[in-house]
């Protein structure tokens, strides 16, 4: 049987999600190190054929369209039933799932359902002696752990951290094989219903944002976060917060970055009035560039920052806003 790496593709608002394209890069790296006959993708959706050409252009050999209206919105049990039907036909060597909230919900659930083995939240694939090792952050990024699968006969399931792998190279006009697999999923066999989807319209979410403007205890109060919102809007970015600011009730938990909040990886992370406790660093230390503004020159955030400014944030932010407006014409 052909050795196949199967990537699960998420569709959001009629578009292939960026994190799903990234796992094609993960698949290519596994193919290079562990060998494989083909890289395939599965779209679980009412109109899976709409996405095939884009997936071919990124280097996918075969696209399986598992077609059912019951799959338009992610539901753990519906996805598991659909995948089981496909899995029994293909018996792939690897199953790659992007590690979004729903991906991290489904990976472990499906691993039990199909008797596979799973490694969560990987950020790299490397060769260690003769073994293929999957690298994942543990202890909220304070350590990296290198893991390998033990049983060659079990399907290897991976959830892949978003933004850890680059987008794959795109070659327009590439073609491939499309296989439609209709599945009959009866609503009354699915125990859950999505009653409402509340999208934060017009707001960039923290995990997708290229620019994050975060505030901590130094912001002094909830009213001052307005300045951060304005700066974030200028940059088309998102507002984050330290645990201190969230626990003080200044900003909702949704915005919390760190050990008990979100893990983010923007191009630039601005930290205003954040001292840089290790629990906060855990959530943002892999940002490309970190800019820290704090009046306390001893603040630990300056040890992690790419650029540090020891100054009053209330003086810095207005000047920064004016200067950005001058330089960026949008």
């Amino acid at each position: 049987m052909a050795k196949e790496i199967l990537c699960v593709i998420d569709i959001d608002e009629n578009k292939v999600k960026k994190s799903s394209l990234e796992i094609i890069s993960t698949a290519k790296k596994i193919k290079e190190l562990d060998g494989a006959d083909k890289i395939s993708a599965v779209v679980l959706n009412e109109t899976p054929d709409k996405y095939k050409d884009e997936l071919f252009s990124y280097g996918v050999d075969t696209v399986y369209g598992v077609k059912s209206p019951a799959l338009n919105l992610y539901r753990t049990v519906a996805y598991t039933k659909a995948l089981k039907a496909l899995y029994e036909k293909l018996n792939p060597a690897y199953l790659l799932i992007s590690g979004t909230g729903n991906g991290r919900d489904w990976g472990p659930y499906v691993s039990i359902a199909i008797d596979g083995a799973i490694i969560a939240d990987i950020i790299d694939v490397v060769k260690e002696s003769d073994e293929i090792a999957f690298v994942r952050p543990i202890f909220v990024g304070n350590l990296l752990s290198y893991n390998a699968f033990v049983d060659p006969n079990k399907i290897k399931i991976l959830t892949v951290r978003p933004k850890a792998f680059p987008l794959p190279e795109k070659v327009e006009g590439k073609s491939g094989e499309f296989v439609e697999i209709p599945v009959d999923i009866k609503e009354d066999e699915i125990p859950t219903r999505v009653l409402e989807v509340i999208k934060e319209t017009g707001k960039i979410n923290l995990q997708d944002a290229d620019f994050i403007v975060s505030g901590g205890r130094g912001m002094g109060g909830p009213e001052n976060f307005k300045m951060l919102v304005e700066l974030a809007n200028l940059l088309n970015g998102a507002v984050g917060a330290s645990r201190a600011a969230v626990d003080s009730g200044w900003v909702p938990y949704d915005n919390q970055v760190g050990q008990t909040g979100k893990t983010v990886k923007p191009k630039i992370y601005f930290a205003f009035g954040i001292s840089g406790a290790i629990q906060h660093l855990a959530g943002m230390r892999t940002s490309d560039i970190i800019v820290a503004v704090n009046t306390d020159k001893e603040a630990p955030i300056f040890k992690t920052a790419t650029y540090g400014i020891v100054d009053d944030l209330f003086k810095v932010i207005p000047v920064l806003k004016d200067e950005i407006k001058k330089r960026i014409v949008r």
Partner: protein
């Protein structure tokens, strides 16, 4: 209604020191804390029991260090606690752990609602909630920020996802995993704490549950390393106008905008 909460003592990630950075996973000297999501697990079980009646059992898998959190749970007012000991370490094999936990829940008489934290710090897999559900063949709802409705055979929750929220209903029994701030955990009274400190914690083992250790783990650990260091940074010096200007020069040089 039968509620089961899954909680865990974890090694404090903030206390990882250079001597703990590999090549093996050596956690000597790292203190343990209650997984920060788990006090919300206990409180959520208690609040719904107070509304609907029933029984709350808190289960923890681990060594004797977990007795501390189980005693806290008793002091907060739960009905039963159980320490589950697994002789099979297996590099923290989450599949095996979920199998043992699912069996322990069954042995306790099953559950209508099982509540776990969003993830346990340390392993950071977020596997146990969904895996226990899958082992029991019941649905799971993860990242729950609010339980909107709960009755004999139905639950409605709000899930906190990357780009917003989702309201989902499920039949029971069901597993939910909760995020921070879903409720305000109560403080146990001193009298309750003192009383709980004298309770012998019931313990069950893998063998009591009739499960043999597997021949091998599904996943193995090769090594651990410290994360790659960040490149050295620089402090920008000058007046506010000067430092902002310097900063933007540097950011534009790197073409980040």
């Amino acid at each position: 209604m039968r509620f089961v909460g899954l909680v865990k003592q974890v090694f404090d990630p903030a206390e990882i020191k250079p001597q703990n950075q590999g090549p093996g996973l050596n956690l000597d000297g790292v203190p343990k804390i209650l997984n920060p999501f788990d006090e919300f697990v206990i409180e959520e079980c208690l609040q719904w029991k107070e509304k609907l009646g029933g029984e709350v059992t808190i289960i923890s898998m681990g060594d004797e260090s977990a007795n501390e959190i189980l005693r806290t749970a008793l002091a907060m007012g739960v009905d039963k606690v159980n320490l589950v000991k697994d002789s099979f370490g297996g590099d923290g094999d989450t599949i095996e752990r979920s199998k043992v936990l699912a069996k322990a829940i069954e042995k306790n008489g099953g559950a209508d609602l099982i509540i776990a934290g969003k993830l346990a710090l340390g392993g950071d897999t977020a596997h146990i909630g969904p895996m226990v559900a899958s082992q029991l063949g019941i649905p799971v709802l993860t990242y729950v920020s609010k339980v909107i409705e709960l009755s004999e055979n139905k639950i409605v929750v709000e899930r906190l996802l990357e780009g917003g929220k989702e309201v989902v209903s499920s039949t029971l029994p069901c597993v939910i995993t909760v995020v921070k701030d879903i409720n305000k955990p109560r403080y146990p009274s001193l009298i309750a704490i003192r009383k709980a400190s004298k309770v012998a914690i019931p313990t069950i083992t893998r063998e009591d549950l009739g499960l043999n250790p597997p021949a091998s783990s599904t996943v193995k650990l090769i090594k651990v390393t410290p994360p790659p260091p960040r490149p050295a940074g620089e402090i920008l010096i000058g007046s506010t106008e000067e430092v902002v200007s310097k900063l933007l020069d540097k950011l534009f040089e790197q073409k980040v905008f």
